[in-house]
Each structure stands twice: as C-alpha cells, then as structure tokens.
C-alpha cells in the first residue's frame, strides 16, 4: 500500500486565487478512494468537475480527505477495480454532449450484405468515403452517388465526410461507426434519425419517411 500522500497546501494557499481549482481536483482524483470521489462528486473529466464544483467545496473535500484518510487503496473494492481498469483499452475523456441525450432504442437497423475487414472501424472525426444508394420504403430511389452502370465514370468519387460529427443524418453517423472498411450494409433509418417530420421535399423525401440506404464503406482514415 502506498504511503500516505503529503499535505501540499496550507489553508492560506488553498483559499488563494493563485491556486486553480483544476490543481486541487487533480490532486484529490489522484489520491482519494473511488468512493470518496463519488460522494464528493469529483469523478470524471477534470474540466467538467471544475465547472460544477465551487472552490469552497474543493477545499472542504481536500481537508476531509486528510481527516478521513480515505486515500486510494483504502476501499476494499478498489484493488479489483484498478486491475480491471488496467485491462480495458484506455478511453478518451468524453466531452459533455450539448444535445439532449436520446436514451431511447437506436432508431436504425443494419444488415451486413458484404463483410468488411472487421479491423478498420472509423472513429468519430475520421474521414470516411462511401458509395451509397438511398430508397424510400416503396422502393423509389431518391439519391445515389454510384455512376450509372452503362457509363463508367472516371470522374465519380465516393462521398467523403467526417463521421460522427453531426454533418450527416444521425442514422448515418451511428451506422457508419459500426461498419468496417470494405463492408457493404443495408441500413434502415427511422425518420427521427433521418429527416423527421419535415422530410426533404426538394429531394423527394416526404415527411416522416423511413429511409433505406445501401452503403459501402470504401475507406476510413
């Protein structure tokens, strides 16, 4: 078990404006037991914690930590948790979503038509390139970027964009993140994750339309 950490800051120093909240949070996160952090609402990304916690709260927590001596490793469950953490792939700190978090079931379904390499999956922010055809439920093709079979257009290029950034309809963003390079899939998207109540009248998509796309993920960087 690690030796008890030293108390770096005096009360004066803690109250001073020169000591940023982030430093106190970091110290407590580095040294306190998980249950302690949970009780004092100090878990998570330092930036976010800094937004919601007041300086006084942090000073109180800091002092309480040394009084209660609930440092890392003093939680009975802690050791196991640490080991599990070490095995997991390191996660990037999540950004707080500004949108309303939709807790409902995913509003799309995917069936794989051709398997991909199952290795190269796009991450949010990656640029992906796709060939696609979009149809309505009645079979009408409303859009495609695949050149007509009769003329092999050298000019035609797959559609490229940054995935997972809200540039495309949500059904696309969500579906593409589950696809691997080379995969072709049939994706059916409910209107809530497509063009919703308004539709896209100029592009022949009626209101409340469920959209069916056949998408081939050509590449992802």
């Amino acid at each position: 078990m690690a030796a008890e950490p030293a108390r770096e800051w005096s009360d004066e120093q803690l109250k001073s404006d020169d000591l940023p909240k982030k430093d106190i949070i970091k110290f407590i996160q580095d040294n306190a037991a998980h249950s302690f952090l949970n009780e004092h609402k100090l878990l998570g990304n330092i930036k976010n914690v800094a937004k919601t916690a007041k300086k006084e709260q942090l000073i109180t927590a800091y002092n309480q930590l040394f009084e209660s001596k609930r440092f890392k490793g003093t939680d009975p469950v802690e050791e196991v948790t640490e080991q599990v953490k070490a095995v997991k792939v390191e996660e990037k700190p999540k950004e707080v979503k500004t949108e309303v978090v939709d807790e409902g079931p995913p509003k799309f379904t995917k069936s794989v038509l051709k398997k991909g390499d199952k290795t190269n999956f796009p991450k949010k922010g990656d640029t992906v390139s796709c060939w696609y055809t979009g149809t309505l439920e009645d079979g009408t093709v409303f859009d495609t970027n695949i050149p007509a079979a009769a003329r092999k257009k050298k000019q035609a290029k797959p559609l490229s964009f940054k995935v997972g950034m809200g540039k495309v309809i949500r059904g696309w963003d969500e579906a593409l993140l589950t696809m691997s390079k080379g995969e072709t899939a049939r994706v059916e998207i409910e209107p809530e994750w497509a063009y919703g109540k308004k539709g896209l009248p100029d592009s022949k998509i009626p209101p409340n339309a469920k959209l069916i796309f056949e998408i081939e993920l050509v590449s992802t960087d």
């Binding site: 859009d143 092999k152 063009y195 998509i205």
Partner: protein
C-alpha cells in the same frame, strides 16, 4: 495573314448590323486562317471593345471565337479560359437588370450576351460529358473542367448575384444560371471554406441550389439540416436582405434543436445582428416586416439554452425598445411553454431565469428613463410580470427562485412608479405651458387682426419651437400622458394579483 482584315470587317459589322457580306467574309476567314493567329486577333478586338458598343461586340465575336477555338489542335482548354475571361471582362461593364420589365427589355443587352456565352461553352461541356464515358481522363479534360468552373463561379458573382432570379418565370438570366451550373460536384464548393472561389460566388451558388433548386438532384440527400444551415450561414450574411436562403435553411431544421455551441460561430453572431440592424434601421417596411418573420423563425429553432443566451445577447446589445419588447414577449412565451409537462428546464424556470428576468425588467436610465421612447419594452415587461404572477402557484412549485423573482419585481415596480411620476410631471408641465402659449398667441392674433383692420395687413408669424404645429405637439404630449396612465394601470393590476395570491396562500 487574312487576320489583318478582321479588325476593319468587324468594326463595320458592329456599326452596320445588316452588313451581310462583311459577316460572310469574317466567317470565311475564321475557317481558313491560322487558328492561333485568329484567336490572337479576335481577343485583341474584344479587349479593345468600344464602351458604347459592348453587347454588339460580344454578340458579334462570340460565335466566331467558338469556331476558332474548336479548330485548335492543342491548348483548347487554355484558350477557352482566355476567351471566357476576356468576354466576361467586357460583360461586367454592362448594368444588370433588376426588374422583370428591365430583364425583358434588355436595353443594354446583358441577357443576350449571357446567352451567347452559354452557347459558346456548349460544345466544350458536351465533350466533357462524352469523355466521362471513356475511362481516359486526360490533363486537358481536367484543365477544361477547371476553366468552365472558373467561368461558372465568376458568372455567379457577376451578374447573377445582383439579378432578381426567380424560377417561376424562367427569365433569360435564370436560364443562363441553369446552363452554367453543370458539374455534379458543384455542391462541394459550398462546403469548402478554402479555395479561390469568392464568397459572393459561393453565396450565389448556395442560393441557386437551395432556393431556386437548380441542380438540386446532384446534392446528396444525406447531410443533416443543421450542418447545411451552418454552412450556409456565412452566405446568408452576404445576401441577408434576400431572406430566401435563410428561410429555406431554417425550415429544414427541427424546432428547438439548434444547440448553444452554434451561437459561438461568427456567422451565427453576425446574421442575427445584421438582421437586427435591418429591423431597426431599414426604411423599407416590407423588408422590416419580412425580416421580423425570419427573426422569429430563427428563434424558434434554438433550443432552450440557446434561446436563453440569444435573448440575453439581444437585450444587452440591441438598444432598440421595439426589438427588446419583442424579445421580452418571446421570453413570456418560453416560460409558458416550459411549464408544460416534460418541457421543464432551468433556463426559463430555474436559477438561470433570474438573470434573464433582470435584463427584461430594468430601466436603462433609472428613474430618468424616457418612458415614451421605451414604451414597447416596458409594456411587454409589465405583461410578462402579470403573466408570472397569474401563474404564481405553478411557478412556485417548479421554480425554486420565486423569492429572487419577487425581489426583482419589487425593485422594478418601485423605480417605474418613480419614473412615471417624474415623466408625468414633466409632460403635464409642458402641456400646460403649450396651452398657455396658445392662449397668448390667440390674444395676440386677435389684437393683430384688430390692428390690421386699421392698418395694412400684417402677416402673423407662427413661432414654433419644433417643426410640428402646436396642435400636433399637444397630441404628442397627451398621448404620452395616456401611455403613463396605461403603464400605471398595469402596475396596479399586477399589485392586485400579488395581493390576491397572498390571500390564497394564507
């Protein structure tokens, strides 16, 4: 060698349109002389265009230029580029028609010249379409594509950006737009913020694509409406008073969906600010009225947090009581809609609402505020207060900031009462002075009339402190006093409701 004949022949044709034998001679020359030399001579003629005969020159030379370029063995693409830019230089000197009548009359020939330029490009765009069939993609093709794109973008900027384009009447300039907007990947240009295409060109492209729906089939139906709005915002700024692109882009977005992070983008700050300027300063009523509709449409698309931030921004920066009043009305509507089940949020029903209320319920110059000038905002703020008090029971249970709201209310009403009594005192005094003045003047006039009967006619001068007649001044002062009465009666009503609520509680 025959090229030396070109110049005098062409000049003759331009001067005298019916000079058939000159036309025949030129046509013959363009078929037999060296195309490179011909091109050089013809381009010189274009550059030397007489300002008084621009459209005649363009209309005369363009078909011949086409003949010559088609005869070239190599360097076609570069020549197409040279010809188009030379012709466009001259074209840009012509005034752009901006009414339907002007377009049909085409007095300066701009529309006919545009048609001529589109006709010039025809064989080249056709050849590119054909080339698509073969897998061979030469450097020449790429160069040609690039030149045609440059031509398209230049034309969008000038003359199309300034033209009144409406697809419903398929005017010559609208047809010109459809002819030049070829190329399936034109839409990429809208999304690119880098590149040498000017912002005006891209704005026009966005307008023609999304509003006039030219080539909309080439636009992928997978982009999210919010992303399209975001891309279009800087173009909307370029052509704000046209509203159409703004409206169209907003209509595709769901209500209450735009997040507050968007408001940090520069274009999302500029557009509403510029719109606000139109609302407060534009002398044309129909533009202000339409502008207000679009303003409200934008507000409707913001989510609760974004609305809160936007309202704060407008209340702080607009300095215009009409707009401020409009915002306060919106605040009232938001409180109402936030009280519906599942709609509750801290921005209009919680701690954050207090700061917004503080901005809505304030007198900019304290007790010396000009109540008449600020009437719109003050009346709306009193309406808001009355609403909040009528809903006290529900609000108390939802919002945990009722005490704060009451404190703000009390301070505001106290100051407002003081302000009203000061203003009333001032305006009453003015009115009294004006009436006294009138009486004195009437006496003087009667005296002067009596004197005039004895002496020659003297004209009695009206000395006005302002440009208004005394009657008009009286009206203004009286209506101000009525306004104060209105405000006070609202305050009384608000206090009545407060009393009633207290009784119910106890």
């Amino acid at each position: 060698m025959g090229c030396v004949l070109l110049s005098p022949l062409v000049c003759e044709i331009i001067k005298n349109k019916n000079c058939d034998h000159c036309q025949t001679a030129v046509t013959h020359l363009t078929r037999i002389c060296n195309p490179k030399e011909l091109l050089h001579s013809l381009l010189e003629l274009v550059d030397d265009t007489d300002p008084g005969a621009i459209s005649e020159t363009i209309l005369t030379l363009t078909p011949h230029l086409q003949t010559v370029v088609l005869r070239l063995d190599e360097g076609k693409a570069a020549s197409v580029g040279l010809v188009l830019s030379a012709l466009q230089r001259q074209l840009s000197r012509l005034p752009v028609p901006y009414t339907r009548q002007q377009e049909e009359a085409d007095e300066y020939g701009l529309c006919r010249c545009c048609a001529a330029l589109a006709a010039f490009t025809n064989p080249f765009t056709e050849s590119l379409k054909r080339e698509n069939g073969n897998c061979v993609n030469t450097a020449e093709d790429e160069e040609l594509r690039a030149e045609l794109l440059k031509f398209c973008m230049r034309s969008l900027r000038e003359p199309l950006l300034d033209a009144e384009l409406r697809g419903d009447r398929k005017s010559p300039l609208w047809l010109f737009a459809t002819e030049i907007m070829v190329g399936e990947r034109l839409f990429f240009i809208i999304f690119h913020t880098v590149g040498d295409q000017s912002k005006e060109s891209r704005a026009c492209l966005a307008y023609l694509l999304f509003v006039q729906l030219i080539n909309i089939e080439s636009f992928p139906a997978v982009f999210s409406p919010v992303f399209v709005l975001q891309c279009n915002m800087e173009y909307i700024n370029e052509m704000l008073s046209r509203y159409a692109l703004y409206e169209k882009s907003l209509e595709g977005v769901q209500d209450n969906s735009l997040p507050v992070s968007l408001l940090e983008l520069r274009s999302f700050y500029s557009v509403p600010q510029n719109l606000r300027h139109i609302l407060s300063d534009c002398p044309m009523k129909h533009l202000r009225e339409k502008g207000l509709q679009v303003f409200q449409l934008f507000i409707n698309k913001l989510d609760a947090e974004a609305k809160h931030k936007f309202f704060r921004c407008m209340l702080k920066t607009s300095n215009h009581p009409g707009i401020e009043g409009y915002i306060v009305k919106n605040i009232r509507n938001e409180v109402e809609s936030s009280m519906k089940p599942d709609n509750g949020n801290k921005w209009f029903l919680g701690a954050e609402f207090v700061s917004l209320l503080g901005l809505a319920l304030c007198l900019p110059q304290g007790p010396e505020t000009d109540l008449v000038h600020n009437m719109d905002k003050i009346m709306e703020s009193l309406n808001l207060l009355r609403y909040l008090l009528l809903k006290e029971k529900e609000l108390r249970s939802i919002a945990d900031v009722w005490e704060e709201l009451c404190r703000i209310k009390d301070e505001y009403l106290k100051m407002l009462r003081v302000c009203i009594s000061i203003s009333r005192g001032y305006y009453s005094a003015e009115l009294k002075a004006l009436r006294e003045d009138q009486k004195i003047k009437a006496k003087e006039a009667r005296a002067a009339a009596r004197a005039a009967r004895l002496v020659q006619k003297i004209t009695v001068k009206h000395e006005n402190a302002s440009d208004m007649s005394p009657e008009a001044q009286q009206q203004v002062l009286q209506s101000a006093l009525v306004t104060f009465d209105l405000m006070e009666s609202l305050i009384v009503r608000i206090e009545e409701i407060t009393e009633e609520n207290l009784k119910i509680l106890n």
